[in-house]
Amino acid sequence: MATSGQLLAVDSAEVSYGPIRALYGVTLNVEPGEIVAIVGPNGAGKSTLLNAIVGLRPLTRGRITWRGRDITGLAPQQRVRLGIGLVPEHRRILTTLTVEENLLVSATALPGRLRRVRANELMERFEVLGENRSRRAGLLSGGQEQLLAIARALMGSPELLLLDEPTLGLAPIVAAKVFGIIDELHQNGTTLIVVEQNIRRVLESADSACIMRTGRIVERQQAERLAARTDLFDSFLGDLLPTEEGCPQRPVPSPGADGTCLHTERSASCD
């Protein structure tokens, strides 16, 4: 599978939280320009994988290469400079900083003046951010926060953008907007890895998809093929499109026809 044109290669990556193993030998290759969707039940290790790629979680085994160069030991800020960006789970915007400041502290590799230019560009592109530029980011709505988290990751013009559940908790109309941004970035040649609960929608955008379970990638498929597999959707309780107050109901675990048993267990707060 390995080709010379690979952008990112994760090779037999293992990650542990103390005694708890979260990734068991994950291997993932990403070609330039593609969108890879990562789906799987809660606790499968999707966020851990993205955090490992960007360097927030050290590998206990395995390695990560970027354009053929080993980056396993690099700190997050160094990887960001190489062109990897992450829109983290739960957005993690800096609530005590203003919208504009959130952008300005990103992409510290850029000299100050260019950074302001880039921040202004993004605030024009995402109008709500421009309208709220001097507002404390903690006062934004969920959808505005998500746009800020995305804009912030775009400050450094990343070649590879990782998005961790970017539509979680958003109203459908806002979620659609986020997917619009994903498609637009794709058209402009950005490579993306998207972790999503809304499988049906993410498969529409993605080129290929990985199914993760208990710390492993159990399957990688072309997106269209996976989209045709109704068993997946049944087992995830269909198309989960969480609304603002909305937590999807607790689904009944159901084994997939071909043995891929995927079931979603939302956290206790969702019940």
């Binding site: 960007v54 360097g55 927030l56 700190a75 997050p76 800020q77 960001v80 400079r81 992450l86 983290p88 993690r92 915007i93 800096l94 609530t95 005590t96 900083l97 400041e101 300005l104 502290v105 990103s106 992409a107 510290t108 590799a109 100050g112 950074r115 903690g138 912030r152 400050m155 450094g156």
Partner: protein, 307 residues
């Protein structure tokens, strides 16, 4: 600290104003130290009990220069510069290595630095205090519309205002300052955005050193004394002020310092003379009582406002 008034006669407006200025002068010094403690806590989650060493080392630098007949025009910048260099050096030599270990390990390291510096001065200089001359104008008073002020108090207030203004400018307007605030809020996210943790921490230590240096300057002008434990009490007061304001809240640290200074001046003036020496004890008890009711400091939002 300055008491240009006597405690006789009815409580006059002039007396209140003088006490207020006294309190501001003392509180300003605490505020400068507390702000540094708060900055370092913000980026490292460390209550730096070695912060007083910046004052101790500066005190010996001042002593060394003073016995070589240098004037205060040389001593002043030397004191500030020494504090900055010491601050950055302590981070580089000690804290850098324990940054990713537990908060407790960092706390122990800060105690370790405190004792090592103290022991070094006892061993290589002297266990007893060394004295040097204070600037002549230190006891000068000026009279403004009938009220006498000590020049040193007015200078501290002016210096505090300027340094706090500078700190606010750095934190609010420069990308460096924004990065410090970002790291103080969420270190992992800051790293994710490309902010270099080393640089942010070094910047915070340098800024904390500058503020402590300015506090040390006035402290040393007033005491003219270098001792191995010179920094201990100012450090404790600074930590206390930072706690009063809510650790990590920078405005809180400043207000906490001013409040502590005011409280001390009031206690010194109104406590009966027989227990005058117990001001520090009374202060600690008051602060302890405060924490029973407001565990995260006076200026922290009420728990219900927390998200």
């Amino acid at each position: 600290m300055g008491h240009a008034f006597t405690r006789s006669g009815p409580l006059a407006v002039t007396e209140i104003i003088q006490q207020f200025v006294d309190g501001l002068g003392r509180g300003g010094e605490y505020a400068l130290i507390a702000l540094g403690v708060g900055l370092i806590f913000g980026v490292m989650r460390l209550v730096n009990f070695a912060h007083g060493e910046l004052i101790t080392v500066s005190a010996y630098a001042a002593y060394g220069l003073a016995i070589s007949q240098m004037s205060w025009w040389v001593l002043a910048p030397a004191i500030i510069l020494t504090a900055i260099i010491t601050s950055v050096a302590i981070e580089f030599i000690a804290f850098r290595w324990v940054r990713s270990s537990s908060d407790f390990a960092m706390l122990l390291t800060s105690f370790g630095v405190h004792f090592v510096v103290q022991a070094a001065f006892v061993m290589y200089v002297s266990a007893s205090a060394r004295h040097f001359s204070r600037p002549e104008w230190i006891t000068t008073t000026v009279s403004i519309s009938g009220i006498r002020f000590e020049v040193v108090d007015l200078s501290i207030i002016a210096a505090t205002v300027v340094s706090l203004g500078f700190t606010v400018w750095v934190l609010q307007r420069t990308v460096y300052g924004m990065s410090i605030r970002a790291a103080a809020e969420d270190f992992d996210t800051a790293r994710l955005l490309g902010i270099s943790s080393e640089r942010v921490i070094r910047a915070a230590f340098a800024l904390a050193g500058l503020l402590a240096g300015i506090a040390a300057l006035f402290f040393l002008m007033r005491t003219g004394r270098a001792a191995p434990s010179a920094g201990l009490v100012p450090m404790l007061k600074g930590v206390l002020a930072a706690l009063i304001g809510g650790l990590g809240r920078l405005q809180g640290a400043v207000l906490g310092g001013l409040l502590l200074g005011m409280a001390e001046i009031l206690l010194v003036s109104y406590l009966p003379d027989s227990i005058d020496g117990m001001v520090n004890g009374v202060i600690f008890i008051l602060v302890a009582i405060l924490f029973v009711f407001r565990p995260s400091g006076i200026f922290s939002p009420r728990p219900s406002q927390r998200v």
